[in-house]
């Protein structure tokens, strides 16, 4: 639309550009700056980066203390590694649970697909916190599962289910499953069934046809789903806090504690900076996919 007034275009672009620049991009710079300052008692609880020393000259005071602590104290390193492990294993579990679901929906009769897909997305629209609460109700020592097991006489004393790794993974998979199923479905539904027919016509048994045709073609969907689960799961706070035990110290939870309980803003910022650096590659890659999907047509 080359005839459209450039002025109108500029406005349409400038508003979201300015908003996101101010409220999304710019804050990262502030985080980076505060990560480099000293913790201090006061409001806000950090020392200014620019200050005048006794002689009145302006000095930039860079404090790498937070980062040094991050490297020295294995507590933080462990939290990062634990987060990466939990997030990737959760994404894998989501894939294992989500792939058959997405495949079944994509193969369902066309008029049923929307309903089946809606059923996957529906829980996502209800409160996240309250769904996590349901798992507390299920897994607690006096929760529904233990009540049933005790009632049936299968166990004599309650099983410890809540505040375990199992509870953590159940919670993450439960909350993030729709993010896996949606991109997988979007990919699988475009797969021409004639390809599988051709493979089977050429002598491939169903499993071979799946491995040789469906799986490679659905790789973009798998990767997109994996990223959509993995990236937010790395920084997840609520699920480890409510379902995981005291040792489920994932990085999101550690950051929260540093910020809200220890009021160590520079430390929280340093944690955020490192987490962001860890995620920059996957996020950039996700954005690249997003751009291709949007600009492809």
């Amino acid at each position: 639309m080359s005839w459209r007034l450039p002025a109108g275009r500029t406005l349409v672009l400038a508003l979201p550009f300015a908003w996101l620049g101010l409220f999304f991009l710019f804050p990262f710079l502030i985080v980076a700056r505060i990560a480099l300052s000293e913790a201090a008692l006061g409001i806000p609880p950090y020392a200014p980066l620019l200050r005048r020393d006794e002689q009145g000259t302006l000095a930039i005071v860079l404090n790498l203390g937070a980062f040094a602590l991050l490297v020295e104290d294995s507590f933080y390193l462990d939290a990062y590694l634990r987060s990466l492990r939990v997030a990737s294993l959760s994404a894998l579990l989501c894939l294992l649970a989500g792939y058959p679901m997405a495949y079944a929906i994509a193969r369902a009769p066309e008029r049923r697909r929307n309903l089946l897909l809606l059923l996957v997305v529906l829980p996502f629209w209800t409160s996240f916190l309250l769904r996590v609460m349901a798992w507390i109700g299920l897994l607690a020592d006096n929760g529904v599962v233990n009540n049933i097991l005790l009632g049936l006489g299968l166990v004599t004393e309650p099983l410890r289910l809540l505040y375990t790794e199992t509870a953590l993974y159940l919670g993450i998979v439960y909350c993030y499953l729709p993010f896996m199923v949606l991109p997988l479905y979007a990919n699988l539904v475009k797969l021409d069934p004639a390809l599988l027919e051709a493979a089977s016509d050429l002598g491939a048994r169903p499993w071979r046809a799946f491995l040789a045709v469906t799986l490679p073609l659905s790789l973009p969907g798998i990767l997109a789903g994996f990223m959509l689960v993995f990236i937010p799961a790395v920084g997840e706070f609520v699920i480890p806090e409510l379902l995981g035990g005291p040792d489920a110290q994932l990085i999101g939870r550690v950051l929260w504690t540093e910020f809200f309980q220890n009021r160590d803003w520079p430390m929280a910022s340093a944690l955020a900076v490192v987490l962001l650096l860890l995620l920059v590659l996957p996020i950039a890659w996700f954005q690249h996919l997003q751009g291709r999907a949007g600009g492809g047509r």
Partner: protein
């Protein structure tokens, strides 16, 4: 083949059971008479009455609904503009930066978004004296920021299937560009805008982490109040609250779907 398909259907059924058993549990236990939430003693509506009289929860719920409505509206406006720019403006300078800013909030861990926004508000207050105190305004701004990304993606994908020849036809028939937008483009992408608004509304209503960072004293949203209650243990009122939310959301979605179906029937989609 049928055996394999059968196994697929079983997998799907198990998946749905996994997704819905916890939700069903919330609903059933909300009618439990016992104070010990998970031990069934009899049917009762008492916790709904208790919920109604729980001022902290009711106040927080109204606050959250107000924030969500404003945030969803703001995010729909900004997200539509962003989606338009990405879908229609071709290669402009700064497009990749812009695309990154639009897509990144979708996957950004909430703790980072929340922390960075809070630090921005603190720095702004120091530098220009605004915002004087954190609360409803700052939470709303934070919610607009991350929900804009979702709306932009919805709008962009709708526009990318949009048949451009419809707009060209309208131009050809004598409609000036702004009338083309009002008479052709807007009515045809309206379902996507409505979906984007609903999505933004729900995201805002549901957000705990970003709100916790950006809110201030006296402005506790519903998830913040629920979270602190949960830290103390399960209470039957929370189950009643969950059920109310599930019912409201189901009705809302059913209504939206019905409207969407009417809209798509009207356009033959």
């Amino acid at each position: 083949m049928s055996g394999r398909l059968g196994r697929l259907w079983i997998a799907l059924g198990v998946g749905y059971a996994f997704l819905y058993i916890p939700i069903a549990l919330l609903v059933v236990l909300s009618f439990n008479d016992s104070r010990l939430v998970t031990l069934w003693t009899g049917f009762s509506l008492r916790w709904y009455a208790a919920l109604w009289h729980n001022d902290a929860l009711v106040t927080a719920a109204w606050l959250s609904v107000r924030i969500a409505a404003v945030a969803a509206t703001g995010a729909t406006a900004l997200g539509t503009a962003a989606g338009f720019a990405l879908a229609r403006f071709g290669a402009f300078r700064g497009r990749s930066l812009f695309g990154a800013m639009v897509a990144a909030p979708l996957v950004m861990p909430e703790v980072i978004t929340g922390l960075s926004l809070l630090l921005l508000f603190v720095a702004l207050a120091e530098a220009v004296g605004w915002p004087g105190e954190r609360g409803v305004t700052t939470v709303t701004i934070a919610h607009i920021t991350f929900a804009t990304a979702y709306v932009a993606v919805v709008v962009q994908s709708r526009l990318s299937d949009f048949d451009r020849s419809l707009e060209e036809a309208a131009l050809d028939l004598g409609a000036r560009p702004w009338r083309v937008f009002l008479l052709i483009t807007l009515p045809l992408i309206a379902p996507a805008l409505a979906a984007g608004w609903l999505l933004a509304f729900t995201l805002s209503l549901d957000d705990l982490v970003i709100a916790s960072f950006t809110s201030g004293p006296g402005a506790s949203t519903l998830p913040m109040v629920v979270f602190s209650a949960l830290k103390l243990g399960l209470t039957p009122e929370l189950f009643a609250l969950a059920t109310v939310i599930i019912v409201v959301v189901s009705f809302g979605l059913a209504l939206a779907l019905r409207l969407g179906r009417v809209a798509s029937a009207r356009v033959g989609g």
